[in-house]
């Protein structure tokens, strides 16, 4: 058994173990153990990856394993990781374990809840290790479908509507994606020969530009739906607002990153010519996401909606940076994915914990929580500062890199849009500080809130893990951005071959 397949096997084993448990109390313990092992494994993987790189291994992907699956269509179970996927796997395992602890007190259908949650994680891990488009697509769909049950059963508010909307929109995205993948597959051997789904092999050839013009938009939009690309972002606020805490965390923290990662790894990496040609359309859309999401967050009254719109804005920034197609911006995009993943998971965890105490998420009904629940409030402030890009926390590093990279683009149009997108930082500060002021500071408005208990031990684990990671990236970003940077080299070389600048 190779180390990468373990990332799929361990969740599956955990699910099997949960199925056979008699005592419901143990379900969460087993889940935590399983995902804890996964976290350790991720740490081991990062270590192994760095050692391999230090010892001079310059392969594009490491730990590659390739098993033929459907021989007649040349479908493989092919896995491998580069710095970007390793970073994403690390992010996922942190968010998942935080999510498990954040949902420690789920009572209703506890077994089913943890199974669905871990199933979702299985899909995400599988997606990040795949280098075969078919396997990747399979894991992608596997990650989306448990969301329906998770939101529909354990959600709040108009949960059935939100769950259905989210599932159908994401599946709609994957429908476009399927078409895009088929297009790539049938153009993967333009000179004749064996067709392939393998990303590394396809990246060596040039897909005919006529085909790229059709299939790049399909693939990009297909992934973009998951990455909350305007105007396909509407599932996100509703879905996040209705989802239970851990699901919001996983979804905004990890699942939305599948969109950014896929758009980068498949759409741009395999079809850079069309990406270059058509990027202006998507730059407009993503810049709209960035600015519109930020403005949307200002007017929201519900904490989850605020954070959902802020996710639209931040994830839009990821796609925006990818489309700039230079090394710095792409490096920033990956950093932003990780930073936003941790930060937004932290936000949603805290919102869930606050909601669990106050039973309301409307900021107008709350106030002065800093005095009552100081631990959670301080953490909320930290998350907010990370979100608005305070130096020393992860958000600053990511956004700084993105905007520096984006401004390197030689064309005035792209620079202009970048300036527009930078304005989102200011808007972010407005909605974050506004919430902090109303929610945490000031007098305690509601007498019911004066005796609220502060965080319990499992909540502290969940929150501290995430804050630790956010701070670690903020304080020592270089090892991470170096790890990403090396892995960006193949695609950068490919782009430079088309347009040297």
């Amino acid at each position: 058994m190779d180390i990468l397949s373990l990332f799929v096997v361990i969740p599956v084993l955990t699910i099997t173990a949960i199925l056979f448990l008699k005592d419901m109390k143990q379900v969460r313990v087993v889940s935590a153990i399983g995902m804890g092992v996964q976290l350790v494994l991720a740490a081991v993987l990062i270590y192994m990856y760095l050692t391999a790189r230090h010892s001079g291994n310059t392969d594009e992907m490491l730990f590659v394993k390739d098993y033929i699956w459907y021989k007649s269509l040349n479908i493989h179970y092919a896995i491998g990781v580069d710095g970007i996927s390793v970073a994403m796997i690390g992010l996922t395992s942190i968010v998942v374990i935080a999510g498990i602890f954040a949902s420690w007190e789920v009572e209703y259908l506890r077994r089913e809840f943890f199974i669905s949650l871990i199933l979702l994680a299985t899909g995400v891990f599988g997606f990040f290790i795949s280098i075969d488009l078919f396997t990747m697509f399979l894991f992608y769909e596997l990650a989306v479908i448990p969301m329906y049950l998770l939101i529909g059963i354990w959600g709040t508010g108009p949960k059935e509507y939100s769950a259905m909307k989210l599932t159908l929109m994401l599946m709609g995205g994957s429908a476009l994606l399927l078409l895009g993948l088929l297009g790539i597959y049938f153009n993967s051997a333009p000179g004749g020969g064996q067709l392939t789904f393998n990303i590394l092999e396809i990246s060596k050839i040039t897909i005919p530009i006529a085909a790229q013009r059709i299939f790049f938009p399909l693939t990009f939009v297909g992934f973009g739906v998951l990455g909350a690309l305007f105007p396909f972002h509407t599932w996100s606020p509703d879905g996040h607002a209705s989802a239970p805490t851990a699901v919001s965390m996983l979804h905004a923290g990890v699942l939305m990153k599948l969109g950014g990662y896929g758009a980068f790894r498949v759409a741009i990496f395999l079809m850079p010519e069309a990406a270059k040609e058509l990027s202006w359309i998507f730059i407009i859309l993503t810049a709209t996401s960035v600015v519109y999401g930020a403005f949307g967050a200002i007017v929201q009254k519900d904490l989850k909606y605020i954070n959902a719109y802020s996710s639209v804005s931040h994830c839009g920034l990821v796609l925006f940076a990818i489309l700039m197609m230079n090394k710095t911006a792409m490096n920033g995009a990956v950093l932003q994915m990780i930073s936003h993943g941790l930060m937004t998971a932290l936000f949603f965890a805290l919102i869930g914990m606050i909601y669990g105490r106050t039973h309301t998420r409307l900021i107008s009904e709350m106030g002065g929580l800093m005095k009552v629940i100081p631990f959670l409030s301080v953490c909320y402030v930290i998350a907010g500062l990370a979100s608005l890009g305070l130096p020393g926390l992860s958000g600053f590093v990511a956004e700084m890199t993105i905007f520096v990279g984006a401004f390197q683009h030689p064309e005035p149009f792209y620079r202009g849009v970048t300036i527009l997108a930078v304005s989102s930082i200011v808007i972010t500060a407005v909605y974050i500080l506004r919430v902090v002021a109303i929610l945490l500071l000031g007098p305690t408005t509601n007498d019911h809130f004066t005796h609220l208990p502060d965080a319990k031990w499992y909540e502290k684990i969940s929150v501290v893990t995430l804050i630790g990671a956010v701070a670690a990236i903020g304080l020592a970003p270089l090892w991470l951005s170096n790890m990403i940077g090396i892995s960006l080299q193949p695609i950068v070389t490919k782009i430079l071959a088309i347009t040297p600048f």
Binding site: L73, Y148, L149, T167, M171, F186
Partner: protein, 473 residues
């Protein structure tokens, strides 16, 4: 008839033997042993199914009227698996007091239709094909009217026989035009003499319309929902899986071998009806409350997806169709199996009745969910792979727009499949279906379905084996 000839035709002959044995048993068996007829039939038919998997010679009989090849054998095997599952699923229902007098008739009629299907798949001549298709249809009408105390069942029988007589008429008219213009009914000779002149194209259109009735393709689908709703559930599942599957197989073989001269014509025909079938059936399915009608419309839309495998005329298309029908057997019979089990237990068939089913019958709900996910094409169940291959087959020939319409349709279908999932898992109910334990045959059939759903997808050997036996134009 030498042993060699027997081996070529062994699946049909074995089935005839089973029918005869059951007939004899019906006459000579004592009253108390009567209850063992079901078990006996299951054993006999399992033997037939297993016998189909042994390697056998290919060849033709009766001067080319009957052709057996690897392709026809695997098609028959797929159907046999489905028939076996239907037979197992029927046991509980046949144990009911009102059916106890006619158990062996049920099996005789059912297996007769299977014989007809096998002959039509193996036909090398339009007459043989026609005889097969009639033998495959008429007994089903008797079966549809099997619940003779129910008006709806009798109505379903009449509707089925009338519409199939009508479609046979159209089909025969088409065949007569083909005969009139070519002077032969042998597939091999017709294909040589067929051209794209308008009379022959008309003959093809009539032929295709007749087949469209059998597969219930829009706009020839109007009989489907009523017949499916009125028939006993096991017959509904039989009609929606086996009859449809057999008709699709024949259509593929004939289109790929006989009408090769007018590929463009039938491709554009199929393009149109495929889009219509998927879209119309999906839109109608959204509004259904009765689960039998619901599954009826869902199975019409499935026919639309299956046509995506036909349209390319490629070998990948044929492989994906055979594979998809196999998956479809497991998924649809899984869904129908749950509906049957609940209907047998409580008589309830409406979607509202399923509210809160997960809290009382978690296993049945999970099986239903997996089966519906497979129909919708969601991993990790086999339907995902089946749909993927169908779409790949169409995309291989450049029908990207059709694939786009199809994938958008799968989103609509996902919506209504999720409605059932929502009813079972999310909706609350004051009077949910009570907790019950199904009897052994039901559990066995559902177990096979679930195993099939998981294994067929991940075990790539199945698809690769089918692919080796398929052919294109």
């Amino acid at each position: 008839m030498s042993l060699e000839n027997f081996l070529i035709m062994r699946q049909e002959l074995l089935m005839v033997a089973v029918v005869l044995i059951l007939l004899m048993a019906e006459i000579f068996i004592s009253q108390e042993n009567r209850k063992h007829i079901s078990t006996f039939s299951v054993v006999l038919f399992s033997l037939v199914t297993i016998a189909g998997f042994f390697p056998s010679p290919s060849g033709s009989l009766f001067g080319g009227m009957y052709i057996a090849s690897g392709t026809t054998t695997i098609m028959k095997n797929v159907l046999n698996i489905g028939i076996l599952l239907v037979i197992i699923q029927s046991i509980t229902w046949l144990r009911k007091i009102e059916n106890s007098e006619k158990v062996s008739e049920y099996y005789i009629l059912l297996i007769s239709t299977a014989i007809g299907m096998n002959y039509m798949i193996s036909a090398g001549h339009f007459l043989m094909f026609y005889i097969g298709i009639e033998l495959a249809t008429i007994p089903v009408a008797a079966l549809a009217a099997f619940d003779r105390m129910k008006n709806k069942s009798a109505e379903a029988g009449i509707k089925l026989i009338l519409s199939s007589a009508f479609s046979s008429g159209i089909l025969l008219y088409g065949l007569s035009i083909i005969y009139g213009t070519t002077g032969t009914l042998y597939f091999s000779e017709v294909s040589k003499l067929f051209t794209s002149n308008s009379l022959q194209t008309l003959g093809f259109i009539f032929f295709f319309s007749g087949m469209a009735f059998k597969i219930s393709i829009v706009p020839f689908h109007l009989w489907t929902a009523d017949v499916y709703e009125g028939s006993p559930i096991n017959i509904t599942s039989y009609l929606s899986v086996i009859s449809k599957g057999a008709a699709v197989f024949v259509l593929v073989i004939i289109l790929f071998t006989v009408f090769t001269a007018i590929v463009k014509t039938w491709q554009s025909t199929i393009y149109v009806v495929s889009v219509l079938t998927m879209t119309v059936a999906n839109l109608f399915a959204i509004r259904q409350q009765n689960l039998k009608r619901f599954l009826a419309f869902s199975s019409i839309s499935q026919a639309g997806y299956i046509l995506l495998g036909v349209i390319g005329g490629n070998e990948l298309g044929m492989a994906s169709i055979i594979y998809y029908i196999l998956v479809y057997v497991f998924s649809n019979l899984g869904a129908f199996g749950v509906v049957t089990a609940i209907s047998n237990q409580s008589g309830k068939e409406n979607m509202d009745d399923y509210n809160g089913l997960y809290h009382t019958n978690p296993k049945l709900s999970l099986i239903m969910t997996l089966a519906l996910f497979s129909l919708a094409g969601i991993p990790p169940v086999a339907g995902f792979f089946g749909k993927f291959f169908l779409f790949t087959a169409a995309a291989q020939k450049g029908f990207y727009l059709l694939v786009l319409i199809a994938v958008l349709n799968t989103i609509i279908s996902l919506f209504y499949y999720l409605l059932v999932v929502k009813a079972m898992f999310i909706n609350k109910s004051d009077s949910p279906i009570e907790k019950f334990r199904s009897d052994f045959p039901t559990r066995l059939a559902l177990g096979i379905c679930i195993a099939g759903l998981v294994i067929t997808g991940f075990a790539s050997v199945i698809f690769d084996a089918i692919r080796n036996l398929s052919f294109g134009i």
